[in-house]
């Protein structure tokens, strides 16, 4: 039986783990593989995405090794092309898109609204199985011959000319898309219908606003990718020419359909991380978020505007100049809500009570790196400038700043923050801070030189390159080795902490939020009694207002 811990009491007593909680209520493989408990499903996802992260990371290591020298001397060109294709596919579809929603979202969405589970627990489990099935296809492809279309699989190369496992990859990605859609459906319905009494929309933690906005994109964007994949598969498998110019088909139509999903997809990857940052900045400044309404609306605005900018990937594709104008101006507009968030997070620190535990260090890192990445997005939105930097390493640097410097830092910050809640154990703070620093340094060394490489003209997806690009490439590869070490360290200490980490109390951070009002780890039903909410989100001041 859990007891709701009262804030302040944690520091007096030595924390003791609750007798029964969701991890020890049942043992055995079947209790995990057939669970409908959102918390266990979150951990299933945690294990799978970690595996895929290291597989995708392994391919990245090989890529950076090859790129240390101008000639293609480590692997053959065909192999190299498969390496970057699989790196992109795995990192995007099997790591980044699920990461925060499927691990932290699954764990926390019900808890943050005071519910016992998501609206559709069995769909949640199905979602994981679908993800694993899609992942199996991709693993199969990685082992048996690879695929070399680039993760963007542009036609007609992918439909007519590629000689690799395009169909299998298409099937794998198609299947995995349904995992995204089901998660999105679950979150939307849960947030709409299962909020605890007193938890109005504008009292929701911003983590939930972020996941709601993300779920809108998951639901509305993913199906377009699905049908695009179907069309590519039909053309490749049955030789019916939808994108084949010889039949009057339009290869650029593929790009429109593809980017209509794939641009919103990047917001799927960043919005949840932004939600995490709002939680971290408030807890570790012990202050209410600055501009709650603005951050909440900005999340929804990003989701909506994000559907209107896909053509900025196509400024030199033979798209009309006037279409380019429209997509350019909308792309500048979609940057504004993100800027608003950064300013509001910064303002939250003002006159706060700031502490520097690991989650907060990741939040700081996020703000710095996301700001940099976001600003370089403006370079790409500028039509005349994009002509020069499109399809160069400038773009590669930009999206890695957002997805790695942003999304992954947000994910790691959140993982550290909620680790005690999820496992009942604390991670070792000293090692964690060191790892965060190593990651930050390694990241910048890896990707900043790539901005310079891009402006100099080094194209993307190049296996070999002219000698004058070597110095910057070596810097980048050196940084990657540091970054790799940085990522390995948390792997080690998180696993270590499961057995040897300090036992965590219900609310080690003295944070606001319903999830901290139950034990660490929580019982299967999350709360002994449905909580009733009587205060705003992040009601850090005045102290003393408790949730019953």
């Amino acid at each position: 039986m859990s007891t709701a811990a009262v804030a302040g009491q944690d520091q007096l007593a030595t924390p003791v783990a609750p007798r029964e909680h969701y991890l020890n209520v049942d043992y055995g493989v079947k209790s995990w593989l057939f669970t409908t408990d959102h918390k266990r499903i979150a951990l299933l996802y945690l294990a799978s995405i970690t595996l895929f992260f290291f597989l995708g990371g392994f391919f990245a290591v090989l890529i950076r090794l090859e790129l240390m020298t101008p000639p293609g001397d480590l692997v053959q060109s065909e192999t190299y092309n498969k390496l970057f294709t699989l790196h992109g596919l795995i990192m995007i579809f099997f790591f980044l898109i699920p990461s925060i929603p499927a691990v932290l979202g699954n764990f926390l969405v019900p808890m943050m609204i005071g519910a016992r589970d998501l609206a559709f627990p069995r769909l949640n489990l199905l979602s994981w199985y679908i993800y694993m099935l899609g992942g199996l296809f991709t693993l199969f492809v990685a082992v048996f011959g690879g695929v070399d279309t680039g993760w963007t699989f542009y036609t007609p190369y992918s439909t007519t000319y590629a000689n690799s496992n395009v169909m299998l990859t298409a099937v794998g990605v198609f299947i995995t898309g349904f995992s995204s859609i089901l998660t999105g459906l679950n979150f939307v319905v849960t947030i709409h219908t299962m909020r605890a009494p007193g938890l109005t929309w504008f009292r929701l933690p911003l983590f939930l606003w972020a996941h709601y906005a993300t779920s809108l994109i998951l639901i509305l964007g993913t199906p377009v990718l699905a049908i695009t994949i179907v069309l590519v598969a039909l053309e490749r498998g049955l030789r019916i020419g939808i994108f084949d110019p010889a039949l009057g088909g339009d290869p650029v139509l593929f790009q429109h359909l593809f980017w209509f999903y794939s641009h919103p997809a990047v917001y799927i990857m960043i919005l949840p991380a932004m939600g995490v940052i709002s939680e971290l900045v408030t807890c570790f400044s012990r202050k209410r978020i600055f501009g709650y309404g603005f951050i909440a609306s900005a999340s929804v605005a990003i989701a909506i505007l994000g559907f209107l900018v896909w053509g900025h990937h196509m400024f030199v594709s033979s798209q009309s100049v006037y279409a380019g104008l429209v997509f350019s101006i909308l792309s500048f507009l979609v940057a504004i809500p993100s800027a608003i968030k950064v300013f509001n997070w910064t303002a939250t620190l003002y006159k706060g009570s700031v502490s520097y535990q690991t989650p907060m260090l990741y939040a700081f890192g996020f703000i710095g790196l996301f700001t940099t990445g976001g600003l370089t997005g403006l370079f790409l939105a500028s039509l005349g400038l994009d002509v020069h930097v499109h399809d160069t390493y400038f773009v590669v640097a930009h999206f890695h700043y957002i997805m790695v410097g942003g999304a992954i830092m947000g994910y790691l910050g959140g993982l550290h923050f909620w680790w005690p809640k999820m496992t009942g154990r604390m991670y070792p703070e000293g090692w964690a801070r060191l790892a965060a620093l190593v990651i930050f340094i390694g990241f910048n060394l890896t990707f900043f030189p790539q901005f310079l490489l891009g402006y100099l003209g080094m194209p993307r997806r190049y296996h070999m390159y002219p000698p004058e690009f070597q110095i910057l490439n070596v810097m980048s590869s050196a940084g990657a080795s540091i970054l790799g070490v940085g990522y390995l360290v948390p792997m080690v200490y998180f696993v270590w902490s499961l057995r040897y980490g300090a036992v965590a109390s219900a609310n080690p951070w003295q944070a606001k939020g319903l999830e901290w009002q139950t034990s660490s780890p929580p019982p299967t039903e999350n709360f002994a009694r449905t909580p009733i909410v009587r205060e705003e989100a992040y009601a850090y001041s005045p102290l003393g207002v408790k949730v019953v």
Binding site: V321, S382, L385, V387, D391
Partner: protein, 328 residues
């Protein structure tokens, strides 16, 4: 193309400095805002670090004026960036009227360039300095992209259609040409050399017939006239090229507006001519029947360029001159 390390690419075209100016503006704005945020975060984090466990931060959590300020200023700056970039983009898409026409065919994994005087090159592009050059490009297979970093120009090369770009080189020298849309195994080897020469050297190079495989020195319109005869286009479009019943007249066609059967009027540009040869039923000229067969599969992209050059020559020099050359 030096092998020395540098942080910025050479500026070798008339537009390069303008692109770089926008780049520097964006860098300045970015540096300003990045520095501002970095400074504020570090400053606030240090100044307001937690000193005691029970300290009570004041309830400051909203300020409408501040929100408006930091919304409207970035918005204004963004609009400046947009307008500047859009202006550049328009300039990049509008070649000057006196541009020299070159044709480019991209195919896995090489670039084929055709000069108006007849020179052909593979993976090289020789041009005179100070002369606007307009490139009309297409692909024989997958999508490629034609990129000259020193000129700051780039345009995708798409199968089934023509795309165009233009530049005017401002200094002599050699510059990189890259394919920059992933196109398969040897994508990173689909690179070349742009050689910019003084006009005198360029003329000399043309005369010496450097690097031209195939019938060297044959002007494209001559090759086009030959192809026109081989394919018996004259059957409908007439040897006299005027007042023929079966197919529309071709002299003076290029660039002229054409009224179609469905009432629309289009300009007969290169894309129109290419489409009319490959897919004649797409745009049927008013007053004519749909009789023209398709030449899809019978004429390749280079042949199409040659026919277009031939039809263009009918506009410029009159049909007699082209025919005389064909007979030689």
């Amino acid at each position: 193309m030096g092998s020395e390390f540098s942080l910025l690419p050479e500026q070798a075209s008339t537009i390069a400095a303008h692109v770089d100016a926008l780049y520097y503006f964006l860098i300045s704005v970015s540096l300003f805002f990045a520095a501002l945020i970095f400074f504020l975060v570090i400053y606030f984090a240090a100044k307001y670090r937690r000193r005691s466990e029970n300290e009570q931060p004041p309830p400051i959590h909203e300020d409408l004026r501040l929100e408006l300020v930091w919304t409207l200023i970035p918005l204004g700056l963004a609009m400046v960036m947009f307008a500047w970039g859009a202006n550049l983009y328009f300039r990049l898409s509008r070649p000057p009227a006196d541009a020299m026409d070159l044709y480019v065919v991209g195919k896995q994994w090489m670039w084929k360039v055709q000069h108006p005087e007849g020179q052909r090159e593979i993976n090289e592009l020789h041009v005179p300095v100070g002369q606007p050059i307009k490139l009309t490009m297409t692909s024989e297979d997958v999508i490629h992209s034609f990129f000259i970093p020193a000129f700051r120009i780039k345009m995708d090369v798409v199968p089934g259609r023509y795309t165009t770009t233009w530049f005017e080189a401002t200094k002599t020298g050699e510059f990189h040409l890259f394919c920059t849309e992933y196109c398969g195994t040897r994508h990173s080897q689909m690179i070349g050399r742009v050689v910019v020469m003084a006009p005198v050297q360029y003329e000399q190079w043309l005369r010496n017939g450097n690097g031209a495989p195939g019938p060297s020195g044959e002007a494209p319109e001559v090759a086009g006239a030959r192809l026109f005869q081989e394919q018996r286009c004259a059957t409908c479009h007439g040897a006299n090229l005027g007042g023929v019943v079966l197919g529309p007249a071709l002299d003076g066609l290029l660039g002229r507006p054409v009224k179609l059967q469905n009432g629309e009027t289009v300009i007969a540009d290169e894309s129109y001519i290419r489409e009319s040869i490959l897919n004649p039923t797409a745009k049927i000229t008013a007053g004519y029947q749909s009789l023209m067969p398709t030449y899809q599969g019978q004429i390749n992209e280079e042949g199409l360029f040659h026919l277009i050059a031939y039809i263009r020559s009918l506009t410029k020099t009159g049909e007699k001159a082209a025919e005389t050359r064909a007979e030689q």
